[in-house]
């Protein structure tokens, strides 16, 4: 059943005339061409499709479009500043080499983004717990944790603080 669905996508008002049962992931990747959000397993087990809805990390493969009606959706495309300045998390992943093939990276960064919004200074264990549902087959985990820790210790995580350059991972 087609209906009008309105939400904010990366700050921009978005309206779609479509079936509310459609899957958020496929709509993002399809007509909205926000292909930074990736399909990995389709059942919410890998985290590649993670986006942030009203501040909470969700698996977009498990959400219907109707679910986000009236809400605020942030994807990896919405993190960098309008002038291209990277979000501190993006900068830290870049500096630490917290990626290899890059396919899980948007989901990793979005999951960490939601974590740091909720809890700006998580402990290492809290980072491990929060990120454990995001799989990286290339196994860049060590550097992913280092990147998130750096931002957490820098007090960043929201838009305010600038990134500091990496030490733990990259040399």
């Amino acid at each position: 059943m087609k209906r009008s669905i309105r939400f904010r996508l990366n700050g921009r008002p978005t309206t779609l005339e479509t079936d509310g049962d459609r899957t958020l992931l496929w709509v993002l990747r399809g007509e909205l061409e926000a292909t930074g959000t990736k399909y990995g397993c389709g059942v919410g087990l890998c985290g590649s499709c993670t986006v942030v809805v009203d501040g909470e990390a969700v698996r977009s493969c498990q959400r219907s479009l109707g679910d986000v009606d009236g809400k605020e959706v942030v994807t990896i495309e919405g993190l960098a500043g309008d002038d291209g300045t990277l979000h501190p998390l993006q900068q830290a992943f870049l500096d630490h080499g917290g990626y290899q093939c890059g396919y899980c990276t948007p989901g990793m960064i979005m999951n960490a983004y939601a974590l740091l919004r909720e809890r700006p200074h998580p402990t290492r264990q809290q980072i491990l717990d929060a990120m454990d549902g995001n799989l990286c087959r290339c196994s860049a985990y060590q550097r992913i944790v280092a990147a998130i820790e750096e931002v957490a210790q820098g007090g960043a995580g929201s838009e305010a603080a600038p990134a500091t350059t990496g030490t733990g991972g990259a040399r």
Partner: protein
């Protein structure tokens, strides 16, 4: 734009020649619009003499172009799947050419623009393609310096090159840029002699760890993968799949799917697909198809596979043979017989196979997630019935491969469906399809007998490997009597035994062979009461192996004692231990040491620390090498602890990550890496060596902790408990 040159509008460009084999020499020379183009006709000599298969083209195997604005473009058939070769290749070119890294644009895996290449696997990019690329860049520099000498009126010896600027030594104002030199020129050079390459002491770009060229694309989500290609009017396909390999379709009714609004049904020989602009509708249409299948009776399953394969394995090939086995056996004071097993392992890249195909003006363009763009192009051309020059494969970023993206079935499916519908088509496998059509690392068995003499020297090594292949099976210890036989492998003879496809997996076969070999070494050391490191040093004279092992022992803080220690961690059921294992792969020597904690009540094992030491010759990018080593260690934890495909005949039972468990963040040990400085050896492979000792290093540490020996991978809690039971019968 993406440095891969895959802008969405870019694909329709028709101003490129369309050669049949990738870039031929003539097609390549025709490319020179203005500027300087250099290509290499030399091939790595060892490949031509030792390999029967064609690995590299005999006409052009690397080239680069310097435009009139000084912009450098490197064309390579190798693809970027996370291993960092976009950056390391650019470093090699920048080094020899004398330009900054950011002056270089990489074009990878585009069959219309890049020289022919067999595929990206076997840790060959740096070892085999690297020399050709460096030679092309060095030749370009030679040409540019000659031009500069004419322009500046000084002999070449007085010129220096830095960041794409040639200047007179001691008079930096007398200078000319590469762009100025290339302007108005149409120069094409073929390199057919050995180029003079920079040596380690001269390196300015190689040997360093710049930020990866692909990093920005990857942290912003802007990087394009095959399924991200979006074309107007594109249909998304869902394909009818059998419930098991070997199943036959006996009845098919697509009427309900055909009746759905906007759904296209294609039925062409074995290919039955439904297509729609959005994926969810295509999925519903697929579910509406009524199909009946005849499924053959299973001959074996994940439990009975090992006996079946030893019984049905093909005849052996002798990999290595020295001395007299009978004499070795009689000279041995102690003889040890062991059997090792490992199940099927999936590649499970986070990106499932994806492709987009579109016909335009009689030419088919396919964006594919593949490690083999050129063979994929040829296969599409053959099966779709087009001449090769009418098919172009473009390889965007690949979201993980590990050997699993060599077969490329999805690209062919997309090509067939684009042809059948006349519209652009996306094929993007679900995770269940990915598991079903994976080319698994085969289940395998090693049976081996070894012996030591009174003095603790290895006297005998009689080694038979079934269905893993011989990679990593060569003995690097000095046993005077040794035989290594291989009964079939992951390709060629023996593959017909499996009920589904098998193929190369990160260091194919070597993970099993090194697990068996390096476990057996520890079995002997323990029986003799010898320290495992000392026993290895006593039995190998290979200088590179001795060096990595000694370096590892020092960095790890290895203390001299025999295993097992059965060290208790306070009260309770936790036992701690340490292990060592070595391996040689892709020309690189690796030694790993690990600390584990075993919960003897649960059979669970936690790896707390891993040190990986590697001698890979000259290191092109140290950070890239360390990232590969860390990835090897962590990925290896999967086949060590959890990854074993469950199946019954051709029916795959594990179809997603709920039951097939990959290593996750909470498994992460502390990983330390150490690269041995060895400038005397050319750059060797880096993507695979550190994963091959993972089975043995953990098994040996578990033995040290508990006295229990694990002979089968993965070491599930059930198997650990069984081994503990055997070690300490109640």
């Amino acid at each position: 734009m993406s440095p891969l040159g895959t802008r969405r509008e870019d694909w329709t460009r028709s101003d490129r020649p369309a050669p049949s084999r990738g870039m031929t020499r003539r097609g390549f020379l025709g490319l020179v619009g203005g500027g300087i183009v250099v290509c290499v006709t030399l091939g790595p000599k060892e490949l031509f003499s030792q390999r029967r298969r064609r690995m590299y083209p005999d006409d052009v195997n690397a080239y680069l172009r310097i435009d009139e604005d000084g912009h450098v473009t490197v064309f390579s058939g190798k693809i970027e799947m996370g291993q960092g070769v976009m950056t390391s290749q650019a470093q090699m070119a920048a080094e020899e050419l004398g330009v900054a890294l950011d002056a270089i644009e990489m074009i990878l895996g585009d069959t219309d623009r890049c020289p022919w290449d067999m595929g990206t696997f076997g840790s060959l990019t740096t070892r085999m393609f690297g020399p050709a690329l460096r030679a092309a860049a060095a030749e370009a520099r030679t040409v540019l310096v000659q031009l500069a000498a004419e322009r500046l009126g000084v002999p070449e010896e007085r010129l220096v090159v830095r960041d794409g600027v040639v200047s007179v030594d001691g008079a930096p104002d007398r200078k000319v840029t590469y762009g100025e030199l290339a302007r108005g020129k149409k120069i094409a050079r073929l390199v057919d002699r050995e180029a003079v390459l920079h040596h380690v002491g001269e390196f300015e770009v190689m040997g360093r760890s710049p930020l990866r060229i692909d990093g920005h694309d990857k942290v912003t989500g802007a990087g394009l993968y095959a399924a991200d290609v979006h074309l107007p009017g594109m249909l998304r396909a869902q394909i009818l799949r059998p419930p098991a390999h070997g199943a036959k379709l006996t009845r098919l009714d697509t009427a309900a799917a055909r009746a759905m609004d906007g759904v296209t049904v294609v039925q062409e020989d074995d290919l039955v697909a439904v297509l729609h602009p959005d994926r969810e509708t295509a999925e519903k249409a697929l579910a509406a198809i009524d199909a009946t299948w005849d499924v053959p009776e299973p001959e074996f399953d994940s439990e009975t596979v090992f006996d079946y394969m030893v019984e049905h394995a093909p005849k052996p090939e002798t990999v290595e043979s020295r001395g007299d086995l009978a004499a070795g056996r009689s000279g041995a004071a102690r003889v040890f017989e062991s059997t090792f097993r490992k199940g099927y392992v999936a590649h499970a890249p986070m990106e499932p196979h994806a492709a987009v195909a579109a016909m335009k003006d009689g030419k088919l363009t396919v964006w594919a997630s593949t490690q083999t763009p050129f063979p994929t192009r040829d296969r599409i051309a053959t099966e779709v019935g087009l001449p090769a020059e009418k098919v172009r494969v473009i390889t965007p970023y690949v979201g993980g491969g590990f050997g699993g993206k060599s077969a490329g079935g999805q690209a062919l499916e997309a090509a067939r469906l684009a042809r059948a519908t006349g519209k652009p088509v996306q094929v993007f496998w679900s995770r269940a399809e990915e598991f079903f059509y994976d080319t698994f690392d085969p289940a395998c068995v090693v049976r081996l007998t070894s012996g030591v003499d009174e003095a603790g020297k290895m006297a005998l090594w009689d080694y038979d490997v079934y269905l893993a292949g011989d990679r990593g099976a060569n003995l690097f210890y000095d046993a005077p009597a040794a035989r290594v036989r291989s009964f079939g492998g992951w390709r060629g003879a023996g593959t017909e035994i499996h009920p589904f496809a098998v193929g190369p997996w990160r260091a194919p076969g070597a993970n099993m062979n090194v697990f068996a070999m390096e476990s057996q070494i520890d079995v002997m050391a323990a029986a003799l009461g010898a320290d495992p490191v000392a026993f290895r040093l006593d039995n190998t004279s290979d200088p590179r192996m001795r060096r990595v092992l000694r370096s590892a022992a020092e960095a790890f803080g290895w203390t001299h004692r025999a295993a097992p220690s059965k060290a208790a961690d306070g009260a309770g059921s936790i036992r701690k231990g340490r292990g060592v294992a070595c391996g040689i792969d892709a020309g690189t020597y690796a030694a790993l040491m690990a600390e584990v904690a075993v919960d003897t009540s649960k059979g669970s094992v936690r790896v707390e620390r891993v040190l990986a030491v590697q001698d890979m010759g000259i290191v092109v990018n140290p950070l890239g090498a360390e990232m590969q080593m860390e990835g090897c260690v962590t990925m290896g934890l999967g086949y060590v602890f959890s990854e074993e495909l469950r199946f019954r005949g051709g029916k795959i039972l594990d179809r997603n990550f709920g039951t097939y468990e990959l290593p996750r963040l909470s498994w992460l040990p502390r990983i330390e890496t150490l690269l041995i400085d060895n400038p005397d050896v050319d750059p060797q492979g880096g993507g695979e060596p550190a994963i091959v000792p993972m089975g043995a290093v953990v098994a040996n540490a578990v033995f040290d902790a508990t006295g229990a020996r694990l002979y089968q991978l993965p070491m599930t809690p059930k198997r650990v408990l069984a081994a503990l039971q055997e070690a300490q019968p109640a």
